[in-house]
């Protein structure tokens, strides 16, 4: 079963394509990190997935259904929008009552015990909560509806480091407990490095790479050696990034096979290096069209 399937998906605001030619197949049961610079199209993709926006090109299905196509679809998908909005004038308890009214699968016992564990006062107005508490309230509402897929748009961006950590701890606990699939976005890969096992890099309105994190790490290498023309590399090595001095070349390549050429010192990339390589490649070639890469599991 796929959590999200997009094919040639695009969204245009007036003349500008905020998202174009997006093709993705994300399996269920994953924690998916959607990473990219601000303005890359992350929120657009997430809003398309929950049906708050309609596509201008291509198709998207979420858990095999059309986004927001009916009560069943709405019940399957939870969404926490950017900056974890809550109703400032309503109390914490009001939010839970509201949630119970609007969601057929509402788990009231879970919501109440979570609020208690977080130490939130049910009578408190949501507008008086700290940023971290507000994010936790929004997460509680989204989890208590018992979705199969939970989508979160930059959930930790505005939180301080401690609140950020607590939020991600609770999110991972929920994944372990309820086997919910997660898609969450961030412009910082560090936020997601520990939590996600599937990565989508979005830059310049396009998917730059998508795949299982371990497979991505295993198939990318940094090669350092005497200066060499990247065109002379074996055909199974695709150059993502290259920099040269008079004597030395440093390349980031994608290759399914180990690099055995003894001229190279081969280093492993971490997730951040990998994301940055694709982002800078995207900004260099933003004008030209290039094929999308997808790493298979």
């Amino acid at each position: 079963m796929t959590a999200l399937h997009a094919s040639g998906l695009g969204k245009r605001y007036r003349q500008r394509w905020a998202l174009s030619d997006c093709t993705l197949q994300i399996p269920e049961g994953r924690v998916v990190g959607l990473v990219g610079p601000n303005g890359a199209g992350k929120s657009t993709l997430l809003n398309l997935a929950v049906g708050l926006l309609a596509p201008d090109a291509g198709t998207i299905t979420v858990l095999d259904g059309q986004p927001a196509s009916g009560p069943d679809q709405l019940a399957k998908v939870g969404f926490v929008a950017q900056d974890t909005p809550v109703y400032a004038g309503l109390s914490v308890a009001d939010h839970l009552r509201f949630g119970a009214h609007l969601n057929p699968g509402w788990d009231a016992a879970y919501a109440e015990s979570r609020i208690e564990r977080l130490g939130l006062d049910p009578g408190q107005r949501a507008g008086k909560l700290s940023g971290g508490q507000r994010a936790q309230l929004a997460l509680t509402l989204a989890l208590a509806k018992r979705p199969r897929l939970l989508i979160l748009d930059e959930p930790v961006a505005s939180l301080d480091p401690l609140a950020r950590r607590e939020f991600l701890q609770d999110l991972m606990e929920a994944v372990a407990e309820h086997e919910v699939s997660i898609i969450l976005s961030s412009h910082l890969v560090n936020d997601l490095e520990r939590v996600c096992d599937y990565l989508v890099v979005l830059a310049a309105s396009r998917v730059q790479i998508a795949g299982d994190v371990d497979a991505l790490i295993a198939s990318h290498h940094r090669l350092i050696g005497p200066r060499r023309d990247p065109a002379s590399l074996p055909s199974d090595q695709q150059v993502i990034q290259a920099s040269h001095t008079d004597r030395q070349s440093t390349l980031i390549v994608q290759s399914r096979h180990p690099v055995l050429d003894p001229a190279w010192t081969v280093e492993q990339l971490n997730l951040e290096d990998l994301v940055l390589a694709y982002m800078s490649q995207a900004s260099e070639t933003a004008r030209g069209r290039r094929p999308m890469l997808e790493v298979q599991r």
Partner: protein, 133 residues
Amino acid sequence: MLVIEFHLDARSGVAPYLQLIHQVRHALRLDMLREGEQLPTVKDVAAGLAINPNTVLKAYRELEYQGLAAARPGRGTFITGTLSGASVAAQEPLRRELRRWLGKARRSGMDEESIEALFLTTFRSATSEEEIA
């Protein structure tokens, strides 16, 4: 009873699931973890470290594959093997010898960094010679 607690070094560059495996093996070797004892639940590790539960599962599966642990459905993962064995008895005299050596190294004017570097380079070259032999 919780026997060990995991921690992660984000800067080490070692994949988190490998770090978990190393920590279990390390605890086994030092006899801090024994046969029959339970590893922390996947949920507790995921929540405690804010890491993906699949990462924890992957580490536990690998430990099962190495014959060091076994999952009991509905109860958790338990230690079934050992790495210390006869070496526990040998550890104490070796530790004493190593301490004596460290004292000698310090008295000869070496600082901690040089001692560590000397140990590691010797350790590596000895290991690679053994592999070739």
